[in-house]
Symmetry: D2
Subunit: 357 residues, 4 copies
C-alpha cells in the first residue's frame, strides 16, 4: 500500500494537484542531526524547471518539517514532511477528465477504484516522488554514519549510451551537466537527442546506473528480503521503470560460470572479490564490493504528438495535449533512484542490527 | 525475513541437509479444494533428477500436508507442508566447511551471522524453493477460481535465444521437452549447449519468460505495492536471478514515446490496448492484457572446473568440486518462476478485495 | 511503531507543541462519502475546553483534509489529516525541561532515545489522540455501511460507579451531560467528585464501558489477531489506560463454567446466545451479540499538588505545576475509545473479506 | 493472522487432532545456544497429564527441531519446531460434529469460514499453545542474555485469592505445588476447589499474575507498540483470557493521582520510583522497575454437566460430554503466560536496538 520498509519506514500521501504531498519517516534513529538544507537540496535536484529540458511547471517544492525533530535532532518520533502544491492549475486538466491517456494509469485507476482524481494524474503522478526524495535524504543522513556513498547517473538516453564501466568513470562529474551523466561528451549527445524529441513533441527513455560504495558486509536478509529484492521493490515503485538488473544482469547470460564467478582474494588483510560481476551482492547479502545496478525507464508516456485512444465511454478519440511535460525524465529521476536505494539500505542496516546478540 | 506476502503469506524454513524443508501458507481462503496431487506435480517439475541435464541428487521431494486442510478442503487455518530431506550426504561437504566458494553465499552468510550451516549451502541452497513451489501451487489453485493462467518458459540459454514473441508461440509445447522451451528446435540447440557445458564442468545461465493470462483488471497497489514491484520482489528472491524486466523492459529504451505508448481501443465492447509494450501493467496495476516479464539467471555458481578463491582463514586455494550440480538451472527454475508469480498475484487479488466497499 | 492496523491502517505523527499533529489513513475503501463535518464533530468531542471540567488549553482542533478525497469521496489513496497546534505556549514548559514528572513518560523517553521534546509531553502527549479520533471517524463512516454502532460511556469515576448493566441503560443519554454517563443522576455525582478533585489540585481515574452493536458474525482472526486482542492492542495505546476486560472480564472468575457459559438458542430463525457473558466474542471471533468491554484509566498523572521527584541530574525536587490539565480525562476519552474500537473492527472487517473465495 | 511479532516473529500452525502442531521462530539472533532440553522442560510444564487436576489426554509433546540450529547454535535462519499429535482419538468427537458447544469457538469458526475441523476444537484448541511455549522458551534463552527473569503464578482460583503482593512473595515456591501458586497454604485451598469442581463436572477460572524482573529501561515503543499493548495483544491471544491489567490496573480507579503517582528517587546512583503502581511501565516504556500484570481466565468452557445449546441445524439440544478436559486450566496456563510475555519483550528488545545510532 502506501508504506515502504520494515524498520526505516516511509508512508507517502498526496496528489499532484491536491493541497500538498508529503511523507512520514518512521523508525529514524534518535539523536541524528536533521539537516533541513541537505534534504531541501536533494528535493531541489528532482524539482521541475531546473533546465530547459524539464517541464515548465513552476514548483518551489519547499519542504516543511512538521514533527519528529527537536532542536535540530531526530527524537525517534516520526518525521513528517509536507510539500505544498503551488503551481496547480486544475482547469488545465478539464479535457482529460474522461480520457484514458495511452500508457498512463488513468484506465487502471478508474477500473480499480471506480473513481479517480484526474488532475495531473492525481495519486499516480510522479510528483509524489518529491516526498520520497525528502525521505531518502533522511535515510542518507543515517547512512552517512556508515560512510555509505550512493551515486546514480544517466547511462543511456534513447540510443546514446555511455559504455565506460562505472569503475572507470569520475562520478564527481555527474552534476557537471544538466543530464547528470558523468561523461560530459556523452551528456552533450544525450542533450541533443532530448532537445530534438522535445521539438518533435515526443519523449525518450533510458537507463540510470547506480553505484553504492562502503556498504558494510552482511546487509540484506536471505530468502525474501534479499538486498537486491528490496532494492528492486523500491526502484520498481518509481513511475516509468520497466526493468532492473544487478551486476552484469541480463548480460551475465552471455558468459559461462567459469567466466563470471567472482572468486575471493585477500588484499591488505581484507577479503575482496577478484571481479565484481555479482554487483556487490551474493546470496542476497552485500559482500563489501560496490553495489551496482541499472534501471530501465520507458519514454515518458506524456507526449504532445497526437495519439489514438478512447474516452471513458469507450469512444475512439485522438488525443492532443499541450501539458507541461518532461521529454525525458531521466535527469530528474537520478535523485529518486538514489533516494529509494538509500531507503532500502537504511531499512536493512537497521534489520541487521537485530540479527546478532 | 522468511515471510513473503501481506495476505496470502508464506513462511519458509529449512536447510538443504537438515531434517526437512517446509512452508507455511497463511491466508489461503477457506473452502478451496486442496488437491495434493496437483501440488506434488508442481513440486515434481522442480525436483532434481528429471533428466540427464540436472543434478544427480536423488530426492523424491514428497510433500506432506500437516495442517490447514480438513476433508480435502482449506479451513482458513495455515497450511503447513513438509518435504523431508532424504538423499542428504553431509560428509560430501566436509571439504567445503571452511571454503568461500566463488559467487556463492558462503562468505556473506559467515560475515552476516558469524556462523553458517555449510552443508550443501544450508539455508542459502536453492533446495528451499521446493517449498515455495508447493505454496505457489496452492496460490495457483486459488487463481484457478479466476481462470488465471501462468506459464513460464525458457527463452534463452547462454547464446541460444528464442526470438519469437510470446504471442506467436504455442505455450502448450513448453512441457514437450526437458528444457521447457516451447520451440522444440530451439530447445534442442539449448540442450546441446547444456550438455557441452556439463562435459566441460562449466555452467550456463539464461532467460525465463513468463506470461500471465486472464489476470483481472485492477490488480496491484499504486505507489509501493505495484504489481511489477511485488512480482520483482518475489522473483528476485530466487537464487541466481540478476535482473527482471516487464513488457519491452530494457528494450523500451530504444523507442520513442510515440512508438511505444499503448493506446486504447474498444473491441467487442471490451477496452483493450492496441499494443502491449507495457506488459499488461500500467501505473503498477494490471490492465487486462497479458502480463509479460523476463527474468535473467546468471550461470550456476557451482562448477567442476578449478577455481581460484580463499578459505575462512584468508588463504588462497584452488577449489575443485565434484558435487552433484546442475550445469544449467533454467528448466528447473520454470516452476519456481510460476510459483512466485502466482503468490504475488494471489496476494494482490486478496488485497484488491479490500479496496472497495 | 507509529502505524496501527493491517489493512485499514493509520500512521500517527506530531507533538503536543510542534507545528501540527496529524494522521494518515491508508486502506480506506474507495467511493465512500467522506463527511468532513462528521469527522470534525468527533474531534470536537475530544477537544479541550468543552466544559469547566477540562483543561483550559484553547485548541479549536480544526481538521484539514490534505489528500485522498476527491469531490467528497474517498479515492482509495491515503487520507492525510492535519490538525494545527495553535494555543501552544512553549515557555510554559521551561521549568519542566529537566524534570522527571511522576508517572509521566519523561524519564522513559529520555532513557529510550537520549533526547526528548519536553514541551507539553511532546510525542507522549495525549494531544496526538486527536488524530486518532479523526481516523476513527473515517473508520466509523466505513462501519456505517454495516450499520455497526459503537457507543462508549463513563461507567465509573473514582468511587462513583454506575452498576446498571449496559443492556438496561438508555445509551442515547450519553451526550446528555458533560460526563458522558448515560445515567444523569450518577453523572451528577461523578461531576461533584471531579470538581472536588480539581479544587484539591488532584486527579481522578475511572472506567469507560464500550458497547458495539450489529457487528457481523465472523469478525476477528483466530490465534493472534483475535478481535479482543486487536481491540486490546488499540485501546492500550491510549494514554493512562491500565487494563481492559471483555464481557464479564475479571468478574468471570467468580463463576463456575456451568454458570457462565453462553449456550446457544435459535430465536426467530437467528442463532443467539442465551446470555452474553462472553461479551460478544468467542474464540476471538464476533458471535453476533453486542461486543462489550471495559477500560480502566488511572488518575491523570498531572496534578497541581506538590510531588516528590527528581530532575535529570538525579537531584530530589518538589514539583509544583500550575499547567492546564484535566482533573479527570474520562469524558474526553470516550470518543478516543470509540475511535480505537472502530479502527480495530474496520481493520478486521477488511481482513474477513479475504478469508473466503 | 497466524504470525506474531515484528522482529522476533512466530508463525503458528496445526490443529488439535491433525498430524502435528508446530511453530516457526523467525528473527532469533544467531550464535545463541539453543538448549533443546530447556525448551522441552517448558513445554512439559504445559503438557496434559501432569497431575490429577488436568485432562487425562496422554501427550508426550516431544519437540522436534527441524531447522535453524547448527551444531547446537542458532544460525539466524528460522527455527521450526514440530510437536506430533499422538493420543489423537478422532472418533471421540463424532457426536460434536454438528454441535455448537456453549462458549466455544464452534459457532464462530463455522460462520467465519463456512467449514471447521471439529476434532477437539481443531485450530481453536488450546493445544496449539504448546508451540507457543516452545517459541517462548527460545525467546527466554534470548532474554537470558539480559538476565531478564519472567515468573508467572496462579493468584486466584474461583473465590480463593492470594492477597499478598508479588513483592512479598517467594516466587521460588511457584513450582512447589501442582497449582503453581507461590503460597502453599493458598495452593492447597485452590486445589480443593478444583477437585470439587472436577467431581461436580464443572470448571473454574482464575487470575494469573506475572512479574518480569531486570527488563532494561527503554523497552516498548511509544504510541502503538507500547510494551503494555504488545503484552496485552500476546496474552489475549491465549484461549479463555477475558482481561488484563497492569500495575494497580482496575484498582487504580480507587485512588487519586496524588496517591498513586510514582515519584522518582535516586537510590545508590540509580533512578527508581518510590512506588510501583505503574507496574514498571510509563508511557508504554519500561522504567526499570518490575513489570507486573494480571490476567483473568474465565472457567474452562468444556464441562461435563449437561448444557442447553443447539446443533448446526438450529435445533435445541442438551449437550452432555465426557471428554478429557481440565476442570481448571490455570496451572497449565502459567508457562503460556510466561512464553507470550517473553515473546513480546524479546520482540521489543530487538526493536529498541534500532532506535539509536
Amino acid at each position: 500500500m502506501n508504506t515502504l520498509g520494515h524498520l526505516f519506514k516511509i508512508t507517502s500521501f498526496g496528489e499532484s494537484h491536491g493541497k500538498a504531498i508529503g511523507i512520514i519517516v518512521d523508525g529514524c534513529p534518535s539523536l541524528m542531526e536533521i539537516d533541513a538544507q541537505f534534504i531541501q537540496s536533494k528535493v531541489d535536484k528532482r524539482r521541475p524547471g531546473q533546465s530547459n529540458l524539464t517541464t515548465s511547471r513552476e514548483e518551489q517544492d519547499e519542504i516543511e518539517i512538521i514533527s519528529g525533530v527537536f532542536e535540530g535532532k531526530s527524537t525517534g518520533a516520526p518525521i513528517a514532511i509536507l510539500i505544498k502544491n503551488k503551481d496547480s492549475k486544475p482547469e488545465d486538466y478539464d479535457h482529460l477528465k474522461d480520457v484514458y491517456r495511452p500508457s498512463h494509469a488513468d484506465f487502471t485507476y478508474q477500473q480499480k477504484y471506480g473513481i479517480r482524481d484526474h488532475l495531473g494524474g492525481g495519486r499516480s503522478s510522479a510528483r509524489v516522488t518529491a516526498g520520497w526524495v525528502a525521505a531518502g535524504a533522511i535515510a542518507q543522513l543515517f547512512l552517512n554514519h556508515y560512510q555509505i556513498d550512493i551515486k546514480a547517473y544517466v547511462k543511456q538516453v534513447y540510443n546514446i549510451a555511455l559504455t565506460i564501466p562505472y569503475s572507470d568513470l569520475n562520478l564527481d562529474n555527474i552534476e557537471s551537466n544538466s543530464i547528470r551523466c558523468p561523461h560530459p561528451e556523452t551528456a552533450q549527445l544525450m542533450e541533443q537527442e532530448i532537445v530534438k524529441a522535445k521539438l518533435e513533441g515526443d519523449s525518450l527513455g533510458g537507463i540510470i546506473a547506480c553505484v553504492v560504495k562502503n556498504c558494510p558486509i552482511g546487509i540484506g536478509e536471505p530468502v525474501f528480503d534479499k538486498l537486491n529484492a528490496k532494492i528492486a521493490h523500491a526502484i520498481l515503485s518509481i513511475n516509468a521503470v520497466k526493468g532492473i538488473q544487478f551486476g552484469e544482469g541480463f548480460g551475465s547470460v552471455n558468459f559461462k560460470g567459469s567466466e563470471i564467478n567472482d572468486g575471493f582474494i585477500t588484499h591488505n588483510g581484507k577479503v575482496q572479490t577478484i571481479t565484481n560481476n555479482s554487483g556487490g551482492i551474493q546470496g542476497g547479502i552485500s559482500n563489501g564490493q560496490p553495489i551496482y545496478f541499472e534501471t530501465a525507464f520507458k519514454p515518458t508516456a506524456s507526449i504532445r504528438k497526437p495519439q489514438q485512444t478512447i474516452d471513458k465511454s469507450g469512444r475512439s478519440i485522438v488525443l492532443e495535449t499541450s501539458g507541461r511535460h518532461d521529454p525525458c525524465v531521466l535527469p530528474r529521476a537520478v535523485p529518486i533512484i538514489e533516494a529509494m536505494t538509500a531507503l532500502a539500505i537504511a531499512d536493512l542496516i537497521l534489520l541487521q542490527k537485530t540479527n546478532t546478540l
